[in-house]
Structure formats: C-alpha cells, structure tokens
C-alpha cells in the first residue's frame, strides 16, 4: 500500500518528474494561450484549504516530532501469513486493562480508604451516585474478564510456541504481568471492605507469612503491623492504585515494544519456503556434472527455472506465487 502523497509534509515530497501531468508543482499546460488556467472562485479556494488543514496539522506535528515514520511503521507493518483470530487475545487483554483503569479512576473519586468509612463510601457510590452501581459492576466483572483473557492469551502463546527464540524476554515480561494482574485482583478485593473481602485478605496475607524466615516480615509489611490495623487498608489502596498499575504500564509498554519490534509469530502450522540443504547439494551435483554448462556457475542455492530437479523447483515456484 503506497503512502498517499498528501500525508507527507511538503518539504519531504519528491518533486514531480518533468512531463507528469496534473499533480506536479511546476507543470505548465501545453498551450497557455488556448486553454488558460481556470480561475477558482474564492469560496472554492477556501474549501480546498480547509480540506488540507488536517494534513497540514499532521505535517506540522511531524516536522517537530518525527512521529509520522513511527506511526506509519507501526500501523503498516506486515503481520505474518496465517495470522488469525487467536492473535486478538493480547489486545483484548490490553483493552480490558484500559477499561479497568478507566473505571478504577472513576471509582476512586468516591471511595474513602479508611477502615471506618470504606464500606459506607461504597454504599453511597452504589445507591446514590448516578450509574454508580454500573461502574462498580463493570470494574468488578472486568477484573474477572481480564484474568480469563490473560490466561487465554498465555495459553495461546504457549501452544503456538511463540515464546521461543527470539521472544524469550517477551514471555518473561508477560509472566510478570500475569503475576501483577493477580496481585491487582488480590489488593483490589479488599477495598470494598465487606466480610468476603476482609477474610479473603486475612487468609491471603497469612499465606504469605508461612514462608520461612522472610514470611513473617513480609506479612508485617503488607499489613503495616502485626494485626490488621488502620494503615492496612490504605497500604493496599496505594499498592492497588499507584504501585502495581505503574509497574504494569511500564511493563506493558516494554511488552508492546517487543511485539512491534520482533513481530508476532505465524501460526506453527503455516510453513514458509525453507531452504532445504539437500536441494542445494543436488543442484551443486547437477551443476558439477555439467549438464548445463552455464548453470554450474550459479549452483549456489538460488531457485532457478531450469534447476537440477524440475519437480522440486516447480513446487518452489508455487510457494513463491502464493
């Protein structure tokens, strides 16, 4: 797909070759006397200018940021042959995360992270605020949906073997993101401060405490003390709102950068033309035998129409044509 000329800023456009009609800057009509250039009405001139305005804006931004090459590189890059619907799970997870972030911001406008007032603030949000229950429901079920999607995405990557060379680092980042997602679920779960939240959190923090040597200090750190106290809820709130989302956004950025840079894999059942060493050997032999004298020189693995073995070369041609 050719990048349309209009979107390239004027100084970067290639000048029109002489003799091209119409679009070039400096082409003059063949006969100026007989067909003088038509004069445009003023309104028409303005309309043309208005249509070009967004392009000019994009050009302005691009001259100052160099962003166009990045955006076009990202948008128009090729994805391998055979990319199917399974590959949408990653962006679906990202979208679920974005929904959680957005609904979370709105919920945080009404929530009070104090053990005495948390429950009341949620009641107020659910009952009195316009669409409060809906936003809360979206956040609650969005968490479950995101967990499902991230596991499905991980399963897809696993079964497609897409964590192998050169994408090992991407897999590691992804597993860390999975763990952070579960941490988000754990910390966020305490915030409504009802019975279920409270006891699930007590048990979860105690599970951490069973690790030898370090465990007791870890659960003290999470709880801000030996018992569930006044700072515990605000600590969980800070982890849920600031610490883990910050880490997740940074890691998602790294994850997506690697995806764009390394590319997504093709499904493993789609094979490209692999250079088979046996074919090269055969051609070398054919060339060495001197069946076609001038072919000997080119017996180095390039596919040719008159090869050593016509059948195999024919298959080669077909795969190129696909």
């Amino acid at each position: 797909m050719k990048f349309p000329d209009q979107l390239i800023p004027a100084p970067l456009r290639k000048p029109a070759k002489p003799g091209q009609n119409g679009h070039g800057n400096g082409s003059a009509p063949a006969n100026l006397k007989d067909s003088p250039p038509e004069r445009q009405a003023d309104s028409q001139k303005l309309l043309d200018k208005a249509k070009e305005a967004p392009i000019d804006v994009a050009g302005w931004v691009d001259q100052r940021t160099g962003a166009t090459s990045f955006v076009t590189g990202m948008l128009y890059r090729k994805v391998p042959k055979g990319t199917n619907w399974f590959y949408t799970l990653g962006s679906a997870t990202l979208f679920a995360f974005a929904m959680q972030a957005l609904t979370g911001v709105f919920l945080s406008m009404y929530y009070t992270p104090s053990p005495v007032e948390a429950y009341g603030s949620i009641t107020h949000l659910t009952n009195d605020v316009f669409l409060g229950e809906f936003v809360r429901g979206t956040h609650k079920w969005g968490a479950s949906v995101m967990t499902i999607l991230i596991f499905l995405h991980m399963g897809r990557v696993f079964f497609f073997g897409a964590y192998k060379y050169p994408r090992e680092l991407n897999w590691v980042i992804g597993v860390v993101l999975l763990i952070l997602t579960l941490v988000m679920g754990f910390t966020g779960y305490l915030l409504p401060f009802d019975q279920r939240s409270f006891w699930a959190t007590v048990v979860g923090v105690n599970i951490n405490g069973t690790g030898p040597v370090v465990g007791p200090y870890l659960s003290d750190f999470l709880r801000a003390g030996a018992e569930f106290g006044p700072s515990t809820l605000s600590r969980f709130y800070a982890i849920h709102m600031l610490l883990v989302p910050g880490l997740m956004i940074a890691l998602i950025g790294a994850h997506m950068y690697l995806v764009v840079k390394l590319g997504t894999t093709a499904p493993p059942w789609v094979r490209g033309a692999k250079p088979k060493p046996s074919r090269t050997v055969e051609r070398v032999n054919a060339g060495a035998n001197g069946r076609n004298g001038h072919n000997g020189a080119s017996a180095n693995g390039h596919s040719r129409v008159n090869g050593g073995n016509g059948r195999r070369v024919g298959k080669d041609d077909e795969s190129q044509r696909e």
Binding site: P115, N206, G215, P216, F221, G225, G229, P230
Partner: protein, 225 residues
Amino acid sequence: MADDTGDKEKQGAVGTPHGQPTPEAPGYFEGESMTRRRVFTVAAQGVGGLAGMAIALPAIGFAVAPIFSREDETWEGVGPVADFDAATYKPVVFTIVEDIGEAGKTLAYVRKGDEKLEEDPGEYIAISTRCAHLGCPVRYVEAAGNFICPCHGGVYDFQGKVIGGPPVRPLDRFQTRVTNGKVELGPRYSVTSQLEPVRTRDPGEFTGGIWEYLYPPRPSTPPAP
C-alpha cells in the same frame, strides 16, 4: 606541521578513556595515578548515588517502618469474674486495634482455669478465634467441646490443641489478669504444641524448637508472658 604534531600530542594527552594517566600529559610524574577524568567519574557516581539515596532511603524506610514499630499494650475489661466458669467458654468482644471502629474488634473465648487440666483456677484462659492454619475465624462447638474452623477443616480440642486438620500449632491466646474483680484481656501470644507461651506468630507458622529461628519473632509484636 610542527603545530599539528603538537596538537596530536595534546589530543593524546588527556589520558586513556579509563582515566589512566599517560606520560604525554603535562605535569606527569612517575607513579601518578589520578586524572581529572577519574576524579569527575568517581564524583559523578558518588554524588549521584547520594542524591538517589536521599530519595530512595526515606521512601523505603517509610514503607518498611511498620515492621519495627510496636503499639503500646492495652488491657480491656470483658466482664466480672463471676461470668466465667471452667466447664465452658464464653465469647467476648473486645478491641484489639484502636481507632478503626468495628474492624479493630475481635472475639475471644474466655473460661476459668480448670484444675483437672492442670491449670491454675485463679487464672483465666482466653482463646483467640484466629485459626492457626491461615487465620479463618474458628467456632466453639459446645456439644463436642472443640473448636472447628470452616475453611479447611481444622479441629482443636477443649484446650485449643490440634486434633485434626492442617493447623500447625494450638490456638493463640490472650494474656489475662484480674483487676478489681474484673477479668481483663491483654496482648496476644502464641503457644507451642505443649502450650508453652511464645511471642505471637502469624497463622501457619510452626512454633517451638528450631521453628523459633525459622519463623523468627518480629519486633512489631509484644513480648511473651
């Protein structure tokens, strides 16, 4: 031409990239080891490190401080001496963490000491409802005379020792004392499987013997009685 060679000498005169002095440098003497480049490198790393520490250490300290701070001991009265007897437990609610309203309260089962179990009848036993497996609330079942945990099926006998299920040690207790005819409950403490008191531990942590070192007591907990 002569100027060029002088320039070339000057270019090589600043020393190697690692800051090692070279003999062409002006003022070089045998045994010199410090160059301007080295000074600036070390200073940049040092001062930058100091600046980083100035931000990071307070933040880390702030996050980690609760591990080392301990609340003052509080004792709360839960009822007159006559309310409690040795045959059964009476549940009482009292405040264990101040200033957070209902979330700071907890339940304890209190009874008088029983001579038949080799306990002092003047002492009162207050058993915490926090299961020693993972912290779920246990319930005293009067008909069976034992404590049952709903989460993973832990069962404790009348004294709080484990008789079934995954809990790792007997139920925690609260210190008790009698003041002016009222029973008062104090800080929490844990017990070994022989009911010896130790400093309070989190659920899931073994007590006694080598476990005292593998699950060390934390500074945020009150000392054992």
